[in-house]
């Protein structure tokens, strides 16, 4: 089975990359193996149709105003998507956010 890909998107992909590090640590602690990466919101359309397609998409809460549009693109691509809980995001809670992603993957 190939590795599941989790994609996070925020404004510039900068603050979210912090969270990615925490999520990777959380995954490692669980013995799970995911390909997790952060990107800029502008790249969502390209990424969802590209070669390296994610299996789940998480949006940073600061760009939840694009959630509606992103949902349309994600639905077309058949990729589950949600906005990350604000508190989990702020506290960089890798465990909780990873769980959010895993729930969508099931």
């Amino acid at each position: 089975m190939t590795k599941k890909i989790i994609m996070l998107a925020c404004a510039g992909g900068m603050s979210t990359s912090l969270l990615v590090t925490k999520m990777k640590a959380a995954a490692k602690a669980n013995g799970a193996d995911y390909d997790i990466f952060a990107t800029a919101a502008a790249e969502i359309p390209d990424r969802l149709t590209g070669d390296h397609r994610p299996d789940v998409l998480l949006l940073g809460p600061q760009i939840r105003y694009i959630a509606e549009k992103a949902q349309v693109i994600a639905d077309q691509a058949g990729i589950p998507m949600t906005v990350i809980n604000m508190h989990d995001y702020g506290t960089m809670n890798g465990v909780n956010v990873l769980k959010t992603a895993e729930d969508l993957l099931d």
């Binding site: 510039g12 900068m14 603050s15 912090l18 359309p45 809460p61 600061q62 995001y89 506290t91 960089m92």
Partner: protein, 490 residues
């Protein structure tokens, strides 16, 4: 009780009445294309500004040596084709993003936009002799910048020549692209061009206005023809616009847009009120949990980047003073002052967590935020502390950027620190270093002062909030202990 109720009524009002239309605007196709399209110009602007500094190192002896060695001219060449033609990048990038977001092959649209942008401008340059002649003329200067012949003398000498020769010598230079319009002055026109071309191109493709070849034709061949009709139609319309302006107005549409739209907009943004409003709106959006820095940056960069460009040009000419027309509010004023250490200038909170915080929540988030703050990222504070929708931290969060913007405006306006030099430091550049890059050591010192302001403004509010959190944590611990005791007693 009443107080909390009115507060939530107010935030409901903002969330339901104010934010949806704003978000709708931010999400419209033209604004999205503008925001994401400008991103393509940014690397060139940043690279170009490095060459700008290299060709004009602010140490006179070094600058003179650079000029003498000929390197200044090479650096200048590199600056001209990057930062110097940023409107061209914007025209291509915006149309590209617009059409890409519509889901069509986008590069042909970007190139169509470039052709359109060039087509709309007068492809000649006023003869340098015209500017040098007459009382108001610049005269002729030598390489050292000394005037060797006054404007009046130049005019007197030219007047002695036969008429035909006079006309020939002062006629516009043709066979060139006038890079004046590819830089800051053409910016608003480039943005409009990018959006309109993107819109028209997408609309025509959607309507099926394209040459469709039989299936046997290889797709790489067929693809060449897809763009031909939309691009052709757009260019014909652009040509007719150019012809009309040229024939009836003896001008072109770029000059008109510059006069009617860009100059007033630049003036508006570059004012005390403009600085304060921009500084206020960033935390305003953030307070409701949406990315204020991104939203305001997208809207203002089209105006503030030309302000940066103007300052860069003055800096290059050695004329960077307010009296010579330098702007106070540039894109760096936005990136490296209003959003320093993250939206809301939250460094004060970082310092507070380091020296005075007691609550676990403050300390934990402070630890997470410490390194991101160096790179002007503060989402951990915004969402974790949180600052979003938190009345206890709202006052300093709104106040700090406004006070910093207002005072920075004044110290530059009154010449206490020199204007920003046009160097485009990326927004992630750490504080004080960015100050040095965008305005020299005085600006670095001023930036340090603004950070101290942040500490001073946040401190009392953070202390109060910390005390509340500590009490909550304490109460919770007591309650849990009590529950534990009750359990044990059973």
């Amino acid at each position: 009780m009443d107080n909390t109720q009115s507060k939530s009524a107010f935030s409901n009002f903002i969330n339901n009445k104010i934010l949806p239309p704003v978000m709708k605007f931010v999400n419209t196709k033209p604004v999205k294309a503008l925001q994401d399209g400008m991103v393509y110009a940014l690397p060139f602007i940043i690279i170009g500004s490095v060459f700008l500094i290299l060709s004009n190192i602010p140490i006179p002896a070094v600058a003179a040596a650079m000029k003498a060695s000929g390197w200044a001219a090479f650096f200048n060449q590199a600056y001209t084709v990057t930062f110097g033609i940023m409107a061209l990048w914007a025209a291509v990038g915006i149309a590209y993003v617009y059409v890409r977001n519509e889901g069509y092959e986008a590069l042909p649209a970007g190139l169509t936009s470039m052709a359109t942008f060039l087509l709309l401008q007068t492809l000649n340059i006023a003869n340098p002799l015209v500017g040098a002649m007459g009382k108001a003329g610049t005269g002729i200067t030598n390489a050292a910048g000394k005037t060797v012949m006054s404007g009046t003398a130049v005019a007197a000498n030219i007047d002695k020549l036969p008429h035909a020769l006079q006309g020939f010598l002062t006629s516009p230079v043709t066979g060139v692209i006038n890079i004046t319009w590819l830089g800051g002055q053409g910016m608003i026109a480039a943005i409009l061009c990018g959006i309109l071309v993107g819109w028209a191109y997408s609309a025509m493709i959607r309507k099926g206005w394209k040459i469709t070849l039989p299936e046997q034709v290889p797709s790489s061949v067929a693809n060449q023809f897809t763009a031909m009709i939309p691009a052709g139609v757009i260019l014909i319309v652009a040509m007719l616009i150019y012809a009309a302006f040229s024939a009836f107005g003896n001008t072109d549409v770029l000059q008109l847009i510059y006069k009617l739209l860009q100059t007033p907009l630049q003036g508006l943004s570059d004012s005390f009120g403009g600085a304060v409003i921009i500084a206020f709106l960033v935390p305003f959006f953030w307070f409701f949990g949406v990315h204020g820095g991104l939203i305001m940056g997208g809207i203002t960069s089209g105006i503030l980047i030309p302000n940066t460009f103007d300052n860069a040009a003055l800096y290059k000419a050695g004329k960077l003073t307010i009296a010579q027309g330098a702007h106070v509010v540039t894109n760096e004023f936005y990136n490296n002052f209003i959003n320093l250490t993250g939206s809301g200038i939250t460094l004060g909170l970082v310092v507070f967590t380091l020296v005075a915080a007691h609550s676990v929540q403050f300390k934990t988030i402070g630890k997470i935020e410490f390194v991101p703050a160096l790179f002007n990222i503060n989402e951990p504070f915004l969402f974790g502390l949180p600052i979003v929708m938190n009345p206890f931290l709202a006052i300093p969060f709104f106040l700090t950027p406004v006070i910093v913007a207002a005072s920075t405006y004044l110290v530059i306006r009154f010449g206490i620190v020199p204007p920003l030099n046009g160097f485009a430091a990326p927004w992630t550049t750490p504080a004080i270093i960015s100050g040095f890059l965008i305005g020299g050591w005085k600006m670095a010192i001023w930036q340090t002062i603004t950070l101290l302001m942040s500490v001073g403004i946040y401190f009392p509010f953070a202390k109060k909030y910390d005390a509340i959190l500590t009490k909550q944590e304490h109460d919770k611990a007591v309650a849990e202990a009590a529950a534990g005791n009750a359990e044990a007693a059973k």
